[in-house]
């Protein structure tokens, strides 16, 4: 079972908000004594997801939580937007698939960097992506 220990919601609408969000995520990761490599993985994942949110949905919100499961602590990030949604999730999760002009590594790459990855999307309503990175996972 995963318990949430603290919760912090950040609205991301402008480019400055992205920098602020990354700093808050980093602070949270440092607070639970996450190792440097895992911190880098988490921040890179955060960077990918927040870029998607800005590019495809003109921004959204990110919830930063410290979660605990047994003896393990971790950071859970929930990105939610009210963008166009993803019509074909299994295609979006494949390496090299992109509807924009990018490399198409964002979603599948992010999944490889974190411990838990959950994507829910409805066309026309928006997308919610939840990731968890454990401090020693």
């Amino acid at each position: 079972m995963t318990l949430s220990l603290s919760k912090d919601t950040i609205q991301v609408l402008k480019e400055q908000d992205v920098v602020f969000l990354k700093n808050r995520v980093k602070e949270t990761a440092v607070k639970i004594k996450m190792g440097l490599v895992n911190q880098t993985r988490l921040l890179t994942a955060c960077s990918e997801l927040v870029r998607n949110m800005m590019r495809y949905a003109n921004g959204g919100a990110c919830v930063i939580e410290v979660v605990s499961s047994g003896r393990n602590n971790g950071v859970r990030l929930t990105f939610s937007d009210k963008g166009p949604g993803i019509p074909d999730i299994s295609a979006a999760m494949q390496d090299g698939f992109s509807t924009g002009k990018s490399l198409g590594l964002g979603l599948p790459g992010t999944k490889r960097l974190v411990n838990e990855f959950d994507l829910k999307s409805k066309v026309g309503e928006g997308t919610v992506i939840t990731i968890i990175k454990w401090a020693n996972g």
């Binding site: 480019e15 992205v18 920098v19 990354k22 440097l36 490599v37 911190q39 880098t40 993985r41 921040l43 890179t44 960077s47 990918e48 870029r51 390496d95 990018s102 490399l103 590594l105 964002g106 599948p108 790459g109 992010t110 490889r112 960097l113």
Partner: protein, 136 residues
């Protein structure tokens, strides 16, 4: 607006990235650097990323772009000082930065650049030394 300085040292351009890149800054760097290569007819570009703690797929693409664009303009690019955690993340992300030369630190990067450029610039150097000889 922030700007990343590009320094010229002989036939090389040096770029030291001291801040965490955000998208617009990286795009500006790409444009500035390619223009500088053209303006100074530089033969090599050395990019120091030792202070960069995150390279995501976008930044990785920009670095790859800079290398390929410089290549077309006849300049080699070497990226130096990548943090180990960044290397791990890049590979897991699926971005092996093919076609970009790397070196552990500034000194090794400089040597790599020199060795790459010497190979192609041998003729020009010989011509110059001949001229010197005659004038003396």
């Amino acid at each position: 607006m922030d700007k990343i300085p590009i320094l010229r040292m002989g036939a090389f351009l040096l770029v030291t990235i001291q801040v965490d890149l955000y998208d617009r800054l990286a795009l500006n760097l790409e444009a500035d650097l390619v223009q500088m290569v053209n303006k100074t007819s530089a033969k090599g570009v050395l990019i120091d990323i030792s202070a960069v703690s995150i390279v995501d797929s976008f930044m990785g693409r920009i670095i790859g772009n800079i290398a390929s664009m410089s290549k077309i303009l006849d300049a080699e690019t070497v990226v130096v000082g990548m943090q180990p955690a960044v290397a791990i993340t890049l590979i897991e992300l699926g971005l092996p930065l093919k076609g970009v030369h790397t070196a552990l630190d500034m000194e090794k990067g400089m040597n790599l650049l020199k060795s790459m450029i010497d190979l192609t610039g041998v003729d020009a150097d010989e011509d110059q030394s001949d001229d010197d000889f005659i004038t003396e």
